[in-house]
Amino acid sequence: MSFGIRFFPQEASSIAGSVDALFYTLLAFAVALGLFLTVLVVGYAVKYRIGSAADRTGARARSLPLEMAWTIASLVMAFIFFGWGAVLFVRRDRPPPDAVEIAGLGKQWMWEFRHPGGQREINELHVPVGKAVVVSLASQDVIHSFYVPAFRVKQDAVPGRTANVWFIATQPGRYHLFCAEYCGTQHSEMGGWVTVLAPEQYASWLGSQGEGESLATSGGKLFRALGCSGCHGNFSKVRAPGLDGVFGQPVALANRQTVIADERYLRDSILVPNKEIAAGYQPVMPSFDGLVDEAELQMLMAYLKSLSLQSPSFPAAKNEAPQ
């Protein structure tokens, strides 16, 4: 770290250490193998240079045992590093159950974040230390990618779908937030800082952002303003599925399949309602495609999720199918 030259990235999340352990182990293997081959090739080049007195009897152009040995050794090493990397990778899909959920929206050329309490920030993201944070990512235009090098996390935000990325920050501080997927003219300007705060500072930061209404509340207002409650409300006359506690639960479909009502399903049900009809209901819902933008979709999602939180059967992680 002398002379201001950096060799290693900061480690500031709960997974950074384990990713780096794999990185440095692989680096040690690569350096060892590279050194071995360098010594071998340079050694041969010197020893068997033209005109040298080295003994050249017994030269061979093939050796089945040797070739088998390095093929098998390569396979074994490959499988070890494959398995190690895969085990660390699949936990991306399993966020801790009690995470703070923040809506993240990528657009040319900025990141917009909205906290559960309604606090909104651009190119800045304030998170508490030691607490799991899930950023639910969407994009308004092209593909962007949420990248915080110090956390070793990266996730593309693809238009037309949502994707979650989670992390637990371990060190208070300010860390680079980048867009990693090339997104047009000002791609390199798209980013800012993630500020990790101690819990009490985080609480006071949230308080200092003004008394905005929560994301779920805004979503609820939107739910009524768009007329959703006319059919999906508790006292509606039109027969539409009730939505209390729907999030994360299995839904029986008219085509006899069952899907989990995750973000993908709820999003599609708003934008392409006839794609997956709930069993026992008529396909009468109109599409809201073009009537709600990505930010409003995220509010509606927060509202629908808040309905589920009252449900006692809320599953720990949405990927785990019940039973």
Binding site: G4, I5, R6, V19, L22, F23, L26, A30, G34, L37, T38, V41, Y44, A45, Y48, I50, G51, A54, R56, A59, A61, R62, S63, L66, E67, W70, T71, S74, A78, F81, F82, W84, G85, A86, L88, F89, R92, Q108, D141, V142, I143, S145, Y147, P149, R152, V153, D156, V158, P159, G160, H176, C179, A180, Y182, G184, T185, Q186, H187, S188, E189
Partner: protein, 545 residues
């Protein structure tokens, strides 16, 4: 063969423009390609140097962001499709494949010439997009940026790439048929030089993968021009579909680019070690394994795209598998040196540098195949460094090795050995100075395709930019001394390196019909130290070495 009995060289068969532009001689078509590709290489290289100068400081001070985005997009498009994909196959491969298998020409000589015209026609579109105002999508044309949001001449550039694809397919078909049907008597599959094996494997990939690229580019133009929803989610499309289609072509295309380079090195290392290639069969079969496995790993470009985690795990596994045949080759090349009589002429220097740089790039590939690490370094300079070590450090270095190795055969002239060795060394130093710092940058988290960057990355960027200047000098030097050798170089003997291989059994440069007497093959490839060719040792040209 004594010179008074030898036929006139192919270069003596007319000198006017018609004799070149209407030729069906594979050796002259190779030169048409060689001149065009050299121009594209230096055009793409100029864009790269401009980028590196811009990146010497964190702020954007040389060019605007729009210009910078055009520089890296055109650098990628030109280098991949107008240089790397055709490079070795269309130049050295075109010239040498018939000579190496003892044939008079390729199976379809007119198709061969047509492929060059198609290539030039397609490249006109690419050049038109440069002149009109450029493209700013990156070489990957990701949707919906390319279809809905890009403000450059995307359709023009994509159409150019589409057309050039047909030229690639033509070359592929021609090579496949040639290898199957025109081998000299006695030249069985397992007596073929590895260069022929790799050209064959490359041709298979060209013929099978290029149509998928063509389909995806057509779909882009359909969506961009006619508003048909394929990749645009607002129209019911899926942006990730494009990535699947694109990488289904573009990952195998990486092997189109590197396999012929592996072939060249497999010719050069045995020759200057005076040893047979170690584990010949394993190297030949590994080339085929790379061609097959190369089709199954495209998803490793999409680990963080939103594709399912389980797909990611499968693609990671297959990506580790495709590393095995490459590792096998590296071990075989290294063991070839054992107990040899090694000399260090220019082609050998380039081949040894290839071995080092390819190994280094390949090992970095393991990091990228390991899922958890890729999440961190995906779309950073780590990836940029990795594929430049393979594509430039590997492929272009092998191209230079081959160019110097066969230059006497191509031109009938010897180049300056001193300048050749100096250029090889300058290239090696410049390359590592340019691209090694980019590994560090990537690990530190520096994203790629950034016009400006945080100041803390400046140290490594400055090293990289300095290296780019050295590298540019290393590539300009051969342009000068090779051109000089055309006029002033010493006459080349038929076999200046005392190499095996049928191409060395005819004069330098060869006659238009390649061989005065059709050769018959009785020995395996790489029959060093030339035991089977003792009758050739009385050839007066041998004494020149």
């Amino acid at each position: 063969m004594s010179s008074d009995l030898a036929s006139a060289s192919y270069l003596a068969e007319g000198a006017g423009p018609r004799s070149w532009l209407l030729t069906t001689d594979h050796k002259r078509v190779a030169w048409l390609y060689f001149v065009s590709l050299t121009a594209f290489f230096f055009l793409g290289g100029t864009f790269a140097v401009l980028m590196r100068i811009e990146l010497a400081t964190p702020a954007g001070d040389l060019v605007s962001d729009d210009v910078y985005n055009r520089l890296f997009s055109l650098h990628g498009i030109i280098m991949v499709w107008f240089f790397l994909v055709p490079s070795i196959p269309a130049t050295l491969g075109n010239f040498l494949l018939p000579l190496m298998i003892g044939a008079r020409d390729l199976a379809f000589p007119r198709l061969n010439l047509a492929s060059w015209y198609v290539f030039m026609f397609g490249s006109l579109f690419a050049l038109a997009s440069v002149v009109l105002g450029g493209v700013d999508t990156g070489w990957t044309f990701y949707t919906p940026l390319s279809t809905l949001y890009a403000n450059g001449f995307v359709s023009t550039a994509a159409f150019g790439v589409f057309i050039v694809g047909f030229s690639t397919i033509m070359t592929g078909i021609n090579f496949i048929v040639t290898v199957h049907t025109l081998r000299a008597p006695g030249l069985t599959w397992f007596r073929l030089p590895i260069f022929v094996w790799t050209l064959y494997a490359t041709s298979l990939v060209m013929v099978l993968a290029t149509p998928v690229l063509a389909a995806s580019l057509i779909l882009i133009v359909l969506e961009r021009v006619f508003g048909i929803g394929i990749f645009n989610p607002d129209l019911g499309g899926d942006p990730l579909l494009f990535q699947h289609l694109f990488w289904f072509y573009s990952h195998p295309a990486v092997y189109i680019m590197i396999l012929p380079g592996m072939g060249v090195v497999s010719e050069v290392l045995p020759c200057f070690s005076r040893r047979p290639l170690f584990g010949y069969k394993a190297v030949a079969l590994a080339s085929m394994a790379i061609a097959v496995f190369g089709f199954l790993v495209w998803g490793h470009h999409m680990f963080v795209s939103g594709q399912s985690a389980y797909a990611g795990v499968v693609f990671s596994f297959l990506s580790f598998c495709v590393a095995i045949p490459s590792a096998i080759k590296v071990f075989n090349w290294s063991l070839t040196l054992r107990k040899g009589e090694i000399s260090f002429e220019t082609p050998m220097l380039y081949a040894l540098f290839f071995l080092a740089l390819f190994t280094f790039g390949g090992l970095a590939g393991l990091f990228l195949a390991a899922l958890a690490i890729d999440v961190h370094v995906h779309d950073t300079y780590f990836v940029v460094a990795h594929f430049h070590y393979i594509m430039v450090g590997g492929m272009v270095t092998a191209y230079m090795a081959g160019l110097h190795f066969w230059w006497p055969k191509l031109t009938g002239r010897m180049y300056s050995e001193v300048w050749g060795r100096i250029a090889a060394a300058v290239t090696f130093i410049g390359f590592n100075l340019t691209f090694f710092p980019q590994y560090v940058l990537g690990f530190l988290g520096m994203p790629r395709r950034y016009h400006t960057y945080p100041p803390e990355f400046a140290f490594w960027h400055i090293l990289s930019s300095a290296g780019a200047v050295v590298l540019a000098i290393g590539y300009l030097m051969p342009l000068l001394y090779l051109a000089w050798s055309l006029f002033r170089g010493a006459q080349a003997p038929a076999n200046p390196w005392r190499a095996t291989g049928l191409e060395w059994q005819t004069s330098s440069p060869p006659p238009a019909h390649n061989f005065d007497r059709m050769p018959t093959v009785t020995r395996p490839a790489y029959d060093y130290p030339m035991k089977g060719l003792t009758e050739k040792r009385s050839d007066p040209v041998e004494d020149l070495v």
